[in-house]
C-alpha cells in the first residue's frame, strides 16, 4: 500500500528509544539539534464541573517514541490527548512539547497533528485540498506545498483519489486521507485518537500493519489513544494504562502483560482476561501458598518472600488462562462448565467449588474434557500474579 520511497523528515534517522541528540532537518534546510518530538505531561489534571477526567497525570513521551494511551471508554485518555493538542485547557499541571511549555500556546501554534476518530475531513474540499489545508494555513509557498502534498499522497497511495471529495471515499480511504493530512506538514508529534475504530475488523488489521510501517518510516513521536489492547500491544513502544483518569502503569507492552501493576491492569490486558481468584495466605512446613476453595496453590520462593512481608492475609491470585494446565492431578479441583473451540485454540471454562469461573486456554490438539466432568488443574508457578486485596496493587512490584 505504501510506496517504498523513504520519508526524509529527519536526516540521521534511527530506531526508537535510542538516546542522544539527533540532527533534524526539514526540507527548507532548517536544521537543529534538539529533542524535537518530546512530549512531557507534568501533574496534569482536568476537571469538568464535578467530574475529574484526568487526575494528576505525569507522563513523558520520548522523541520518536510511540506511546499508547490505553483504557476503557471514559478513562480520560482522549481528554489527555486533547490537552496535548490544545483543544482542552488543563485545570492544573503543565505540558511541554519539544522543549517548549505549551500551556499558553494555542492549538494552531503547537505544531502537532491530530488524526480524529471521525477523521474530521473537510467535506466540501477535495482530497488534495484537505491534505494541503495545513500547509495553506501556514502559508507554505505553492511549489513547496505541491511537492509535500505529492510526497504524502504517494506515501499513502492516494494519487488516484486527489480530486475526489470525502463523501466519495470508503472508510479506509478516508482514514488514509486523514493520515496524509497529518503527515504532510511534518509536525513535532502526531496525536491519534482511536484512528482505527471506525474501520471494519478486517480493514483494521490491515491498516494497523500499515500504520506500523508508516510509523517506522516517519520515525515520529506518536501519542496514540485506543481502547483496543491488541492495537496497544502490537503498535506501542510503551503503553500507558489509564482508569478513571488515573495512570495505572506505564511500561513496554510485554511488561504490562507479564507484570501488571495492579488488578485493573491485570484484568484489562489479555484476551481471554486473566483469572483472578480471592484467597488467603497460608503457611505450613515452610512452604507458603494461597488457600482458595478447591485447594492450596503453592507460591514460588520470590513471590512467597514478597507476599510474606507485613501481615497480609487477604490476597487475590492471578493466573493467565494459558498458564493453567488441566489434568487428573493438581492442587485445584473444579468442574468443567463450557468448552469454547476457536479453531486454533480452545477455552475451557471451569467452575471452582465456590462458584468462581476460571478460564483455561489450551491448544485445539488437546482433547477437551467432558462438560460437567470433575477436573484438577495446575498453575504454572513462575507465572502467578499476586495482588493485595485491600490496595489491589501487585505484591512483588
Amino acid at each position: 500500500m505504501f510506496s517504498d520511497r523513504s520519508w526524509p523528515v529527519r536526516l540521521g534517522g534511527r530506531g526508537p528509544r535510542e538516546g542522544g541528540p539527533i540532527l533534524t532537518a526539514d526540507r527548507t534546510g532548517r536544521a537543529s539539534e534538539e529533542s524535537v518530538g518530546r512530549v512531557a505531561i507534568r501533574g496534569v489534571t482536568k476537571r469538568f464541573a464535578d467530574v475529574t477526567a484526568v487526575d494528576d497525570l505525569t507522563l513523558e513521551v520520548a522523541d520518536e517514541e510511540f506511546l499508547v494511551l490505553l483504557g476503557p471508554s471514559g478513562c480520560g485518555k482522549s481528554t489527555a490527548l486533547r490537552m496535548i493538542a490544545g483543544l482542552e485547557e488543563p485545570t492544573a499541571g503543565s505540558i511541554e512539547i519539544g522543549e517548549r511549555p505549551v500551556n499558553d500556546v494555542e492549538a494552531k501554534d503547537r505544531d502537532v497533528a491530530m488524526v480524529f476518530q471521525s477523521y474530521a475531513l473537510y467535506p466540501h474540499m477535495t482530497v488534495r485540498r484537505n491534505i494541503e489545508f495545513p500547509l495553506k494555513s501556514r502559508r507554505v509557498p505553492a511549489d513547496e506545498r505541491n511537492r509535500l502534498v505529492e510526497e504524502a499522497t504517494k506515501m499513502l497511495g492516494l494519487e488516484a483519489l486527489l480530486e475526489r471529495k470525502p463523501a466519495q471515499l470508503s472508510g479506509g480511504q478516508r482514514q488514509r486521507v486523514a493520515l496524509a493530512r497529518a503527515i504532510v506538514r511534518r509536525p513535532q508529534a502526531f496525536l491519534m485518537d482511536e484512528p482505527l475504530s471506525n474501520l471494519d475488523a478486517k480493514l483494521r488489521v490491515q491498516t494497523r500493519a500499515e500504520l506500523i510501517e508508516l510509523r517506522r518510516r516517519l520515525g515520529a513521536t506518536i501519542v496514540y489513544v485506543t481502547h483496543d489492547q491488541v492495537e496497544a500491544m502490537t503498535m506501542g513502544d510503551r503503553i500507558a494504562v489509564l482508569d478513571q483518569g488515573v495512570l495505572q502503569q506505564v511500561d513496554v507492552p510485554q511488561d504490562v502483560y507479564a507484570r501488571p501493576a495492579n488488578l485493573f491492569v491485570a484484568r484489562f490486558i489479555g484476551n481471554p482476561p486473566m483469572n483472578t481468584v480471592d484467597g488467603e495466605m497460608v503457611s505450613s512446613n515452610g512452604t507458603t501458598g494461597v488457600q482458595i476453595r478447591g485447594g492450596v496453590i503453592p507460591l514460588p520462593p520470590p513471590l512467597a518472600t514478597a507476599a510474606g512481608r507485613g501481615d497480609r492475609r487477604e490476597v487475590v491470585l492471578g493466573v493467565r488462562p494459558e498458564h493453567l494446565v488441566l489434568g487428573s492431578e493438581g492442587p485445584i479441583s473444579a468442574t468443567v462448565s463450557v468448552v469454547e473451540s476457536l479453531g486454533h485454540e480452545q477455552h475451557v471454562i471451569c467452575r471452582l467449588e465456590d462458584g468462581q469461573l476460571v478460564i483455561v486456554r489450551q491448544p485445539s490438539s488437546v482433547t477437551p474434557p467432558a462438560i460437567e466432568s470433575a477436573v484438577r488443574m495446575t498453575a504454572d508457578a513462575p507465572h502467578l500474579h499476586l495482588f493485595d486485596s485491600a490496595t489491589e496493587e501487585r505484591v512483588d512490584a
Partner: protein, 333 residues
C-alpha cells in the same frame, strides 16, 4: 459458451410449468400500480391547489386582458396583451420594480449577515448564553404590526427617541436619496431615507428568524472539523471562512432564496410606516403598488397585470439564484 440453440433447448428443458394450468396473470406490473396509487393520493392536494392557487392564477392572468372602465358600472372591454405591454413599460411600474429590488438588495444580505454574526456569537459554551439566544431570536415572536409601531414611534419626529439625528422632514417622510452619487444607472437604485428606514425595520424583524436558521446550520457543523482546522493551523477567521461558511452554505442559500421571495412580498411595514407608497413613491414596492391600484385606483385590470409581473420577477430571480448561487453551495456532509 452456449449458442442460441443451446439456450432454446435449455428453455424448453426448464419449462415443465407449461403443462401445469396457467396461473392468472397480473393485469399490471407493480410499478404501474404504485404509480396509480400515488396519483390517487395526490388528488386531494391537487384539488385544494386547483381551487386556491391554479384557478385564481389563471383567472388573474385572464383578468389582465381586460381594461377596467374609469367609472363603476360600465362594461369592461377586452384589450388583450396591450394592457400587459402598457403597464410593464410604464415609468410607474419600472420605478416600483427598482424600489422593490433595492429593498431586497438592502434587506436580504444584511439580514443574513447579521443572522450569521449573531449565530456565531451565540454558538459558544458560555454560562447564560441561553439568555442571549432568547434575545436574538425574540423578534420571531413579534408581528409586523408590532415591529412597525415600535419603529414608527422611534422614528416619530414628535416623540421619537431618534429625533436627535433627525432633520426636517421626518425620516419616514424623507424622499431624498440616502447618499448622493451622480452615476445615472446607480443613482436610480440609491434608496431614499424613507426606504432605508423601512428596510431597517424589516431587517430587525427578520433577524430572529435569520438567527434561528443560521444557528441550526451551525449546530450541524461538527465540532471536530473546527478542532481539526485549529490543529491544522487555521486562525479564527480562516476557520470561519474555510470551514464554517462552506458548511453553512446550504442554509445561507436557503435563507437567500426564501428571504428574497419574502422581500419581494413585503407589504405590512410599508403600508404602516409609509402609507400611499411613501414620499414621492420612494417606498412604492410592487405589492404596495398592486394594493394601491386595487384599493384606491379601483383598477383591477392593472392590478392583475402587476400581480403577474411580481410572480414573473420572483420566478426569474429564484431561477437565477439556483443557476448562479447553488453551484457555490456544498451539500456534502
Amino acid at each position: 459458451m452456449s449458442t442460441p440453440v443451446d439456450a432454446a433447448v435449455d428453455l424448453r428443458a426448464g419449462e415443465p410449468a407449461a403443462a401445469a394450468p396457467p396461473s392468472r396473470r397480473r393485469r399490471f406490473s407493480s410499478g404501474v400500480r404504485e404509480a396509480g396509487l400515488a396519483y390517487v393520493l395526490l388528488v386531494p392536494a391537487f384539488l385544494v391547489f386547483s381551487v386556491f392557487v391554479f384557478y385564481p392564477f389563471l383567472r388573474n392572468f385572464y383578468l389582465g386582458f381586460f381594461s377596467t372602465p374609469p367609472f363603476p358600472g360600465q362594461p369592461k372591454h377586452y384589450v388583450g396583451i396591450d394592457q400587459y405591454r402598457d403597464v410593464l413599460s410604464s415609468t410607474d411600474f419600472l420605478d416600483s420594480l427598482k424600489v422593490t429590488i433595492t429593498f431586497a438588495i438592502i434587506t436580504v444580505p444584511i439580514g443574513i449577515a447579521l443572522g450569521i454574526l449573531l449565530a456565531v456569537l451565540a454558538h459558544q459554551k458560555l454560562q447564560g448564553i441561553g439568555i442571549y439566544r432568547t434575545f436574538f431570536s425574540s423578534t420571531v415572536a413579534t408581528s409586523v404590526a408590532v415591529a412597525s409601531v415600535i419603529f414608527g414611534t422611534l422614528l416619530s419626529p414628535q416623540v421619537g427617541l431618534l429625533q436627535g439625528i433627525q432633520t426636517e422632514p421626518s425620516i419616514l417622510q424623507n424622499p431624498d436619496p440616502i447618499i448622493n452619487i451622480n452615476l445615472p444607472v446607480i443613482r436610480s437604485f440609491i434608496p431614499s431615507v424613507a426606504l432605508v428606514a423601512v428596510a431597517v425595520t424589516t431587517i430587525w424583524q427578520n433577524l430572529g428568524l435569520s438567527f434561528i436558521l443560521m444557528s441550526a446550520g451551525l449546530q450541524a457543523v461538527p465540532d471536530d472539523l473546527q478542532e481539526a482546522a485549529e490543529i491544522d493551523g487555521a486562525g479564527p477567521w480562516s476557520r470561519f471562512w474555510h470551514v464554517t461558511l462552506p458548511l453553512l452554505s446550504p442554509t445561507i442559500f436557503f435563507a437567500f432564496v426564501v428571504g428574497s421571495i419574502f422581500a419581494f412580498q413585503t407589504f405590512g411595514q410599508i403600508d404602516l410606516l409609509t402609507p400611499r407608497g411613501g414620499p414621492l413613491k420612494t417606498t412604492n414596492v410592487l405589492t404596495y403598488y398592486i394594493y394601491d391600484q386595487l384599493q384606491f385606483a379601483k383598477n383591477d385590470g392593472v392590478a392583475a397585470v402587476l400581480a403577474i409581473a411580481l410572480f414573473g420577477v420572483t420566478l426569474i430571480l429564484t431561477l437565477i439564484q439556483f443557476r448562479f448561487l447553488e453551484r457555490r453551495v456544498s451539500y456534502e456532509r
